[in-house]
Structure formats: C-alpha cells, structure tokens
C-alpha cells in the first residue's frame, strides 16, 4: 500500500507548525502518531499534499500537575499516559481506558491528542474524556482557546479544532480517589469497541460519571444514568434501574458487529457492570 506522494514537514515548535498549517491550508494534514492517519493515506482515502509531523515538538509531550487538573500534552503516547502516576492518581478512568486501546505496538506510537482529534466514535478515549469533563486547549493563529468536552466532539471524525488550529493539550479535572472502570466489549482483543462504557464513581455511590463509546456519532454521556446513580447502592439491584437508562437518547450504528438495538442492549448491560466495578463492588 503506497500513499499518494506528499511533502513532509517536521516543525520543532507549535508556532512553526501553525505557520505551516496557515501556509498550506486545507492541502495540509497534521500527523501525530500516524496510527489513524497513515492507514487512511495508504488506502488512498485521503491525499494531502503536505503532512506536518508534530513529532519534533517536545513541548507537546508530557504530563504535569496543574493544581485542580492534570494536563496531558497532545503528543503524549498512549503508553506514557497509561504508565503515568499522576493519571492513575487523579484520572484513573483515563488509565483504565488507555490500557484498552489497540495493542502495545500501537500504544507506543499513537498519541492521546491524536486519538481525541481523530474523533472516531469507536475510539476509546472520547468517552472517558467526556465523562471527566476534560478541557481541550487549542492553539490557532490568534492564540490559544479552551473548549469544554461537551463542545469538543462535533460529529463523526469532527471536532471543534479548526483547520488552521492544533490541539496542544488536554486538561483533566482531578477526580482524586474516584473509582473507575472502562468496560470494553469486543470480539477479538485488538478490535475497536463494539460498545464501551466508561464509568467513574465517588464513594459507593455518591456521584457518578458515565461515558459511552460507539453509541452515536460522537462519544456520549449517559446523564440520566448518572443522575439515577447518585445515592444508589453499589449492588446489582442498586444500579439496575440506572443502567436501564443508559441507552436513552443514543443512536448507535448498525454494522457487522451488531445492530443498533443490540448495541443499546449492550450499553445497558455494560453500564451496570462498569459502574459496579468502578465502585469496587
């Protein structure tokens, strides 16, 4: 598989990258880990004239503590996110979900920001980011702006990132001490989820956040479930009613792995399981 010919740029700063993006406009494509972009190019589903590789920009890599949030640089690999103590302590849900992304090879190349910017509704990181109320820091020609998770995911493969913009970092409000679980339903280990549920809870159960993967054109939050879980007991009976609400308002796809109604059913079952496991029950 050979992509259409393209020019390759490797800027070493965000400013340089933005300038290149400004110059080449919609002829250009940003490359992070390349794990989604390269298959697209190789199958000739897209043929940008210029590929701007962010791999040389050190400032986009790394995870830091920023008071009430942790900040994950867009170019931090899945592997590094998974291993990081700060993430485990303050955003356990992210650790759990990122461990389920693809396989080890891909986790060493694919990036946190790349996955979120790609916005595949079957991607594993959108639902946890949404559930935790992540904030997306986006740099553009006029400076940086911050977009709330609820506004970030726009549609299938579409986010709030403009054509002349770059996602630089993701701020995750600390959920220190919250239990978490990512319940991913697949047929083979290396598959994208048919449905997955990201659940994180405080106490058992005082407060809950539940995100759904692949239940619509964007990651979704199961708000009715969240509301019903507040004050529920962490038992099968205790969470049953709340998990029955999980598919409300969703519009999951029908494909080879399952029809829409089956996915709704899965979302309900998996939500119950995810919440109980998050609560340590």
């Amino acid at each position: 598989m050979i992509p259409v010919k393209f020019d390759y740029l490797a800027p070493t700063s965000v400013e340089e990258a933005l300038a290149a993006l400004g110059e080449h406009g919609d002829e250009a494509k940003i490359m992070a880990g390349g794990q989604s972009l390269l298959p697209v190019l190789r199958m000739r589903l897209n043929a940008p004239e210029v590929v701007i590789d962010l791999g040389g920009i050190d400032s986009l890599r790394g995870i830091r503590d920023d008071g009430d949030a942790i900040v994950i640089g867009a170019m931090t690999t899945h592997h590094d996110v998974r291993e990081h103590a700060l993430v485990r302590e303050h955003a356990l849900l992210i650790s759990k979900a990122v461990a389920e992304v693809a396989d080890s090879q891909i986790r060493h190349r694919g990036t946190f920001g790349g996955a979120l910017a790609h916005a595949d509704p079957a991607g594993d990181l959108g639902a946890p980011a949404l559930a935790l109320g992540a904030q997306f820091v986006i740099a553009g020609p006029g400076g940086s702006r911050t977009v709330e998770a609820d506004d970030f995911f726009v549609d299938l493969f579409e986010t709030a990132i403009g054509e002349d913009e770059i996602l630089t970092e993701v701020r995750i409000p600390k959920h220190t001490g919250w239990g978490a679980h990512y319940e991913k339903f697949v047929r083979v280990a290396h598959q994208w989820p048919i449905v997955a549920v990201a659940a994180t809870v405080r106490g058992s159960i005082d407060e809950a956040r539940v995100g759904l993967t692949n239940m619509g054109s964007t990651p979704l939050r199961a708000r009715a479930t969240e509301a019903a879980l507040a004050g529920a007991s962490a038992t099968e009976d205790g969470v049953r009613e709340a998990s029955q609400l999980a598919a409300e308002g969703t519009n999951p796809p029908t494909d080879l792995n399952g029809a829409s109604d089956y996915r709704k059913h899965l979302a309900r079952v998996l939500t119950g399981r995810a919440v109980l496991k998050a609560a340590g029950a």
Binding site: M1, M43, D103, V188, H190, Q191, T254, Y262, L266, V269
Partner: protein, 824 residues
Amino acid sequence: MTATQERPAAEIGKDRRRKEDQRLITGRTRWTDNITLPGMLHLAMVRSPFAHAAITSIDVEAAKAATNVVAVLTGRDFGDELGACINAWPITPDQKTPPHSPMPADRVAFAGEIVAVVVARSAAEARDAAELVDVEYDEQPAVLGIKNALEDSVLAHPDLGTNKSALWVFDSSEAGTGGDVEAAIQQARTDGIVIEREYRQQRLIPAFMEPRSVVVDPTGEQLTMWSATQIPHILRFALAATTGVPESKIRVIAPDVGGGFGGKLQTTPEEWIAWAVARRLSKPVKYTETRSESLVSAHHGRDQVQTLSLAADKDGKVTGLKVHLDADLGAYVSLVGGGIPVLGAFMFNAIYKFPSYRFECQTVLTNSTWTDAYRGAGRPEATYAVERLMDELAAEVGVDPLVIRERNWITHEEFPFTTVAGLEYDSGNYEAATARAKEVFGYDALRAEQGERRARGDRVQLGIGVSTFTEMCGLAPSRVLGSLDYGAGGWEHASVRLLATGKVEVVTGTSAHGQGHETAFSQIVADRLGVPFEDVEVLHGDTQVAHRGLDTYGSRSLVVGGEALVQAVDKVIDKARHLASHLLEASQDDLDYGGGRFTVRGTDQGIAIQELATATFTGHNYPEDMELSIDAEATYDPVNFNYPHGTHLCAMEVDTETGAVTMRKYTCCDDIGNIINPLIVAGQVHGGLVQGIAQALWEEAVHDDAGTLVTGSFVDYLLPTSADTISFDVLHTEEPSVCTTNTLGTKGVGEAGTIASTPAVVNAVVDAVRHLGVDDIQMPCTPERVWRAIHAHDGDAPTPESAMPHFEEDAPNQDPTAGQGAGQ
C-alpha cells in the same frame, strides 16, 4: 509390516526445531517480493469496483503520460496472448464453465476483477498512474448469494443462461455401497427420528501472511517466473498449456512462500498478466499485491448451504444421511473449483457406520470473488455438518453426545472398514482417542459444573462440544483422481543425491510454504540413510531443480512426498551395496547396513556411505557392471488415502446477557499414526485449531447487495491473534493406529485441527444454551447472534422473521441478523 518395528529411532520422533525458521522469521530470505532484477519494471492493477458490468471504454492516455510509466495495457491489447485461467476439475461432463480471461476486455464478473495493468519504473509510480486510468462501465445487475443464484433470475454470466454450473451426485444404493436413503428416512418418519437442518458454511478468506507476489524474467531462452505459490509444477504446466510457450522453456520457482492454506493453490490472473507483460515488453516485471487486493481478489473459501436429513432409530442408531449442498463458486470456476465441495462427499459419513447415504452438490456462479481450496477443503464442511447433526441427535434421544457417537462409530476391531461412501479406512481407534481426550479434558467434572450452572441459572452458562472427526488426506491415488475427472495425478517424486563430500541433497516435488518440510524430511533421511541431520539439504520449489512434482496441499507432502523420499533412499542403499561389496571384497549377502555404514558380518570391516559417495565421485575403483552413481529417484503413487482421526472436546462459556462467548478448555487427542517431529505436529495442530475456531467464532467474508466486499480489511475481516485463544491440550493416542499403506506409518496432519475444531466449538456454544431453547447458531457465532438466539423466545431481542427456526425451502433459518448487513 509396521513402521514402528523398523525405524532406527534416532531422528524420527525428535522435537527438532525447524531449520528453516531463522530465515523465514527474520525475513532475510528470498520472498518473491525481495527479488530485484536488473531493469525490472513494476505493475499495478486497475480493478473493477463493480460486481457486474460491461466495460464500455478504457482511456489510458493520462496514465501513459504519467511519470516513468512505460505502458498501460488492457485485455483488448492482448487478446489471446494472455492465455486463460483454467479449471482442472470439471466435476461433471456437462459442467457450465464460463471462460475466464485473466483480464477480460468486455465484461467484469466480480468487484476486484482486473481491467488494466500499468507498467512503470517503480511500484509507487505504477500505483499513482493506475488512478489515472479512466474506465467507463455499464453496470449490470449482479447476483449474490447462493439462494439468489439458484433462482436464475439474475445471471452472473448471461451467456450461460443459468447460474447453475454442475450437479454432482453420489448415492450409496446406486454405487452398491449401501442402502436407499429415502427408504431409511421414510422408515424413520414412522418409527424413528429424523433430524433436518440447514447449515451455512460462511465464506472465508485464506488470509495467508505473505501477500501474493510474482516476478517474471523473460531474459534469455528460458522464461522464469517466481511466484508466491503452493504449486510451481502445476503453474508451469498451466502456463505452457494456455500461453503456447513450450513447457521446456518455462522455469517456475516458488522461493520461500509465507503461508498459503489453499489460498495459493491457484493459477491467478495476476500471474498470467505479469507473464504476458514481461513477454510483450521483454523486460523483467514484478507485481506484489496489497492486502486490500489480496482480500478482494485472491480466492475465497467455503461458502455452502447444507441441507441435511439424518435418519435414525429411536435409540439413535443412524440409518441414513442425505446431504444436499449448494456451493458458491463465485464468478468463475477456479482451478479446483467445484471439486472442493466434492472432496467432502466421501466424508459426511465420517467415523460412522451409516447404512445408507446420498450426497448431492449443486455448484452455482455468482458475481463475487471466486472460491477454491481453503485449509481442509471439503472435509471441514462435511465434518461440521455430521458432527453438528450427531449432537442434535444426542439431544433428541436424550443421551450424552459421546454415547451417540459410540453407538454409531466403527470399532477398532472392524478395520479395515469399507464405508458407505466407498472408501476403505485402513486403521483407527476411535475408542482410544476418545478415552484419552475425555480423561485429560475432565469431561465428567465439566458436565457436573454445567449442571450446577444450569440449576443456579447462572448468567454465564457452560457448554461442552464434541467433534470426533476423521478425514481423507494425502491427496491422492492417481487412479482415484482419474475416476473423478480431476485433471492431474496424485503421485509424488523425490530424488537423493550423494555429493562428493558425503553431504546429501534431497529433492522433493512437494513445495513447502511454511510447513517445515526441510526439517522433517531431513529427519527421515538422517534415519533412513544413517547420516547426520545437518548433512541433509532439502531442495524444493524450483521446477529446474525438482523437475517432477505435484506440490503441496491436501496434507499430502509427508504421506506421499515423504514416502517417495523413503523409496529413493532405499534405492540409494541398494546401489551403494553393490559398490560396497566391491570395495570391501565381500558378498552383498554378507553386508549389513546401519548407522550409515555397510559392515561385513562377522568382521570389523566396513565402509561409510560418505566414503562410497566419494568413491563414485573419483570413479577410480568400481564394479564393471555398475553405473557410476549411487544417486536415485523414485515416484510414489499412493494406493489409498490415509485417515487420521481424533476426538476434540471444547468447553465454552456463554454470557447470556451479552451473548459473548469465551473458550474455557480445549482438548484434542489426534491419532495421526507415527509422528516424525512432534514439535512440527504441535504447530500444525495449534494453527489448525485456531483456523477452525476462527470459522466458528470470528471470520466471515461479507459482500453488500452491490457485491462490494464489506470485510475488505482486517478491521472488518476478524482474524484472531494469540490474545484471543487459550492454551490447548494437544494429545495423541499412546499406541497410534499407524497407516498401513505407507512404510513410515504416517497420516496427514496439516488440516486436521481445522477440520475438527469448528463443530467442537459450535456444539459447545449451542450446548451452553440448549436449555434456553436454542438448537442452532449460525457461524460465526458472534455475540449478537448468540444473544438473539437466546432471547428469540422471550421478546427481549426481537427475532426477525427470517431467524425463526424451521426447515422450508427458500427460508433461511440460520441468520438471526439477516437483513441487517451481517448475512449475505
């Protein structure tokens, strides 16, 4: 004469690591795509996106003008010069076989068919230019799916007037091998049991690891083709037969080949096009397919609807089996084509003493990728059907599935046994294999646990599946193939050359593509000739080196090719004896041969085979009446198939809330006669099992209504990895039933795991939820299908009409997701 008594025991039976693995695994070797020749040009194919269309025009001007493009050629540019893709097995005299041009000029019959080829100085430039070829199509209605094809309302090839290619029938009452199955069914309807089912063998994609690749060098007098093929000899024959080049001017080389599983048992359009382009331009050319091209255009496997009626008395003793297959050939009748389902014809009766049997196979043409051999080829389908039916019969009678088998199988005292399909099984011991498997599996404990889970109404239910398989392998006695109108024989050739330094070159006509022949054959020669394992070199896969051969498929290489090798070695020893007697000045009758030496009985005199080799090199001293060589060759034509068998037991857990299935335990005890290399056998069994399990659980090639392959990448065509499987218990019977028709006593094992495992897994899944009213789940048993089957009756999962269980014409009862894109 059994081989156990004879064999010298040193190398045979040893867990030798495969000597070919280092180069194969590191890739530092001659894969076809690694070959680069001076001035070599690269090809890219332009393929039809439509399943059925007339080609109205092809504009190649823009492509021709692109950078470094040397030529752009279409079917029209070539005409007859292209040759044709052949069908070597017309299964009936009146078989409808559409002409198959490697690159049709006027009409395409499946999505992925080649309509033009771009030749450029680099592969990237060829690919870029291929996008510039402008083809205008007039789309025609496409026929997809067996049931649609049978209706004959839309035709895959309008000129043929029908989609039905051939109807092949075997009837035991006509053949004199058994009774009348209709009578047996009638009888069972009044006072016995009739099990009627329709099973679907989904379409599979062989998915070998190395994509297909071909290099053609037309330089000089002889034309050379390197191809990632299983069949260099057959390929050479077919090139000569269809392109008019004398066979003596063609050399075909299968260098290291990275897997095939039947998928490289083909003569392909890509090979024929590369051949024609190289000849036309007088330049070496290379074509290597992409994975996407491989999935869409390399032949697919299986794809049958099986309509089955099993008659039995009230105790579950089977009185007859009637089989009607409808098999999808795809757009063309491929090399073996309709012969694949016919290979199953002799195996539906499996290990059982069925008194009557009828088999019919209707092949149909559709506008989809052509189908042909895939690991097991015909026998997995047969084994699946009969082993599923035997479990259903057990459920109907209300006895354990192992008990129902025991009531019907051939007992070990009854061998040799002539079956209702007319084959003579020479040896076997189903009791021993079953007892061993049962014990190691922990059958009784798992049954007890199953009972407890059912009683408790556990969310996760446990099921146990049985598959007591046999197969016919070691393709094949040439006369038998002749009687079936197969276009070739089943013999194999080997030669053994003693080099001046005492090293040994062995040439085999089989063509390994990952099986480990170099190691196993070296072990055989090491023992038989008494030379060090390291001194044996096995050569294969080049028609100039191995001038006679019929290649590798059908679990034939060891049992047929290995036997030819043994015979060649024996001839070497005979010839050497003559020379030894001369040099030792002793009578031939006084010479013993062992450990690579002739010794004069009763003395300490002797001479090593290596010394004799040197003596034939120098030629200074040899008998007057001896030709100066101890090299030898042999052609072996088997007198029978051989019949490995085994008992496979599988435990599956089914999550009744989600339909997810998880393998808990898998134990198999295979009786494959004598084992040359247990490590290689374990590898064959493990890989084979996973391929069969994958049919049960994961793999399915799906075309949409327009004929586009939906599972066009490994994102959608689900192949398992090691992360999806468990560790299997791979056992063999302690006292194997050795094959009595070859001297090594071996039986084939290349396909055994794949043949056996599929029904074991599906039986286990069905067994886990049978108490919930389920008696079938269509393969692959996706979580959704399992869940719908479980909840078909409780209103939780609305069951589409088409998923209701029944047994009526034109009403598939197999696909609970029909109409939702998952069925074809």
